[in-house]
């Protein structure tokens, strides 16, 4: 089976700081993989490398077997590589529904369309609204996202990512800033994805990680220090020392 996503010995430095130290990672279709590690471990940097915001110093990235290491970010998105942003990153002068609709329109290749003088075609509007309502964004869907509370913006981030119909979904702390009541909703949304979608979840909330993941990679100071099934990671002394010990 061709892996959905393969990171092959990635290296990244900022000045003298080694933030990605020879990281390899394979996600198979249907993967539910969690990436954990203390703040500053290089998790977000890894997402930026994979999605093309940053170019690695060494190593390769393959998406469904295709080398995308030098591909522009928007092309990777079109191949089904989708992310959210840890720090909310939306279109502030558009409403929550419109943020999702922009993603839907672009996904379908309608970004250049001149048809429809009401911003979006009716079918696009309906789909965007349905996706946003699944995230319980219905009541505030027509509010500009810059006027939304932080937690609501986080959910719009997630709705935008889901709207792009990912094949590989990279979620960078989607639950940060959300009450734990919303964690179940996020898990439900991930469960509702088609079975073959590979998901990489970066998360600090350990209960959420263990409910979600079938495999866990632990990153510390840019280096993979452990990888395995959740139970094995829970027992790993090195991991406890580096990370879990201080929190769990």
């Amino acid at each position: 089976m061709t892996p959905a996503l393969e990171l092959d010995h990635l290296v990244m430095r900022f000045g003298g700081l080694l933030v990605t130290n020879d990281v390899s990672l394979t996600l198979h279709p249907g993967a539910r993989h969690a990436l954990i590690g203390p703040n500053g471990a290089g998790k977000t940097t890894l997402v930026n490398l994979v999605t093309g915001r940053l170019r690695p110093r060494a190593g390769a990235i393959r998406l469904a077997g295709q080398d995308v290491t030098r591909l522009a970010p928007h092309r990777r998105t079109r191949l089904g590589l989708v992310r959210n942003f840890q720090v909310t990153n939306l279109f502030p002068s558009f409403s929550a529904f419109e943020n999702v609709a922009l993603a839907v329109a672009e996904r379908d290749g309608n970004g250049l369309s001149l048809r429809g003088r009401r911003g979006f075609a009716p079918a696009v509007a309906d789909e965007a609204e349905a996706i946003a309502c699944d995230m319980r964004l219905g009541p505030i869907g027509t509010t500009l996202v810059r006027d939304l509370a932080y937690g609501q913006q986080r959910l719009v981030e997630l709705a935008v990512a889901l709207a792009l119909r990912p094949r590989v979904l990279l979620l960078d702390e989607p639950a940060a800033g959300l009450p734990s009541a919303d964690h179940a909703m996020i898990l439900d949304a991930l469960d509702a994805l088609p079975a073959e979608v590979a998901v990489l979840l970066i998360e600090h909330d350990i209960p959420l990680v263990f409910r979600f993941a079938r495999e866990i990679t632990v990153l510390a100071e840019g280096t993979v220090i452990a990888r395995g099934a959740p139970d094995a990671i829970r027992q790993d002394a090195g991991v406890r020392a580096a990370y879990l010990g201080s929190r769990a």
């Binding site: 329109a105 970004g111 009401r118 609204e129 349905a130 509370a149």
Partner: protein
């Protein structure tokens, strides 16, 4: 909210408002003032087309430029030079000016749109200086400092001579303005326009949802350049003259001030701004041109300091405050 609430919201946001017919009413009103006002009306109409093209860049795409007169000038010279060399048919002349400017916009866009902010500003500025100098030096083609003389525009549609009172010129410029305005309105309310505004809001995010940001900005740049060239061609045909000031930095700055005065990013600012600017200029510089420069300086300072949204921004603040207050009260209580 039940399904369909989004459609309703879009319908409200993008609906055609009755006040939007005011510019057309104003265009129809000018002839009632008598033949004295055709020249001013024509000049205003041309500036509005030019300002609309700039609004697409500055207001909708978020691209700052100090070099937009480059495209106005290219359109004017292309149309004018064709006329001097024996092709004075107005409609195809406009098309030529538009095409030359749009093509130049695409080429320049590919180069300068890789940069942003200050660098972009400087690049557009040097582009217009460079073009002005080329036009100055290539006097065999452009007439240099003397300007392009001998432009002769054939009758419109083969029937209507451009008369001394400027009646035909005014009708022609008004018709072009209405068409450009309708086209722009269509563009910015279409999915294409939404994606351009999304890039303005957040280019990195736009790339993350799959928008080819550079390619789309180049396209917008070319469209905007084409419309600026159209305005230039229109002026060349009606005034039957093209000079170095039509491709100069000063014109670039003037159109930016007009847009800022009206308010960028909403089409109507590009209509109100040039009208206010030119009517004020006409009134104030009649007796004393120096006084106008003084007033202009004061005006710019006032807009920048007190009304960053321009005239329409002020109107918003007056009419919008009450509306926003009720909206806040009616917004459903939301959890955080």
């Amino acid at each position: 909210m039940t399904q369909g609430g989004f459609r309703d919201a879009l319908r409200r946001k993008h609906r055609f408002r009755p006040v939007e017919t005011l510019p057309a009413v104003a265009l129809l009103a000018v002839p009632l003032l008598g033949t004295d006002y055709y020249a001013l009306g024509t000049q205003v109409a041309i500036s509005v087309v030019f300002a609309l093209s700039l609004d697409l860049l500055v207001g909708y795409a978020g691209i700052v430029t100090l070099g937009h007169a480059l495209f106005f000038g290219l359109g004017a010279y292309a149309t004018g030079i064709a006329s001097v060399h024996g092709w004075g048919e107005p409609l195809s002349g406009l098309l030529l000016g538009t095409a030359v400017a749009a093509a130049s916009g695409a080429v320049l866009g590919v180069i300068v749109l890789r940069t942003a902010k200050f660098t972009l500003l400087m690049l557009t500025l040097s582009a217009v200086f460079l073009a002005g100098e080329v036009a100055n030096k290539a006097s065999w083609l452009t007439g240099g400092v003397d300007g392009l003389v001998g432009v002769s525009t054939w009758p419109l549609l083969g029937r209507f001579e451009f008369d001394l009172f400027g009646q035909v010129g005014y009708a022609y410029a008004s018709a072009v303005l209405v068409l450009v305005w309708l086209g722009m309105r269509w563009l910015v309310h279409a999915p294409f326009g939404q994606s351009v505004m999304a890039i303005r809001d957040n280019p990195g995010r736009a790339a993350a949802i799959g928008v080819p940001v550079l390619a789309r900005l180049v396209l917008v740049y070319a469209v905007s350049a084409g419309l600026a060239g159209l305005a230039g061609g229109l002026q060349a045909e009606i005034n039957q003259f093209v000079g170095l000031k039509d491709i100069g930095f000063e014109l670039s700055a003037t159109v930016l001030v007009m847009l800022a005065l009206g308010g960028a990013g909403r089409l109507y600012g590009a209509i109100i701004g040039p009208v206010a600017y030119q009517v004020a200029q006409d009134l104030l510089s009649k007796d004393n041109p120096v006084l106008w420069q003084l007033w202009l300086g004061v005006l710019i300072v006032v807009v920048v300091l007190f009304a960053p949204g321009g005239i329409l921004g002020i109107a918003d603040r007056i009419t919008g405050k009450a509306a926003r207050r009720t909206a806040r009260r009616m917004r459903p209580q939301v959890r955080t």
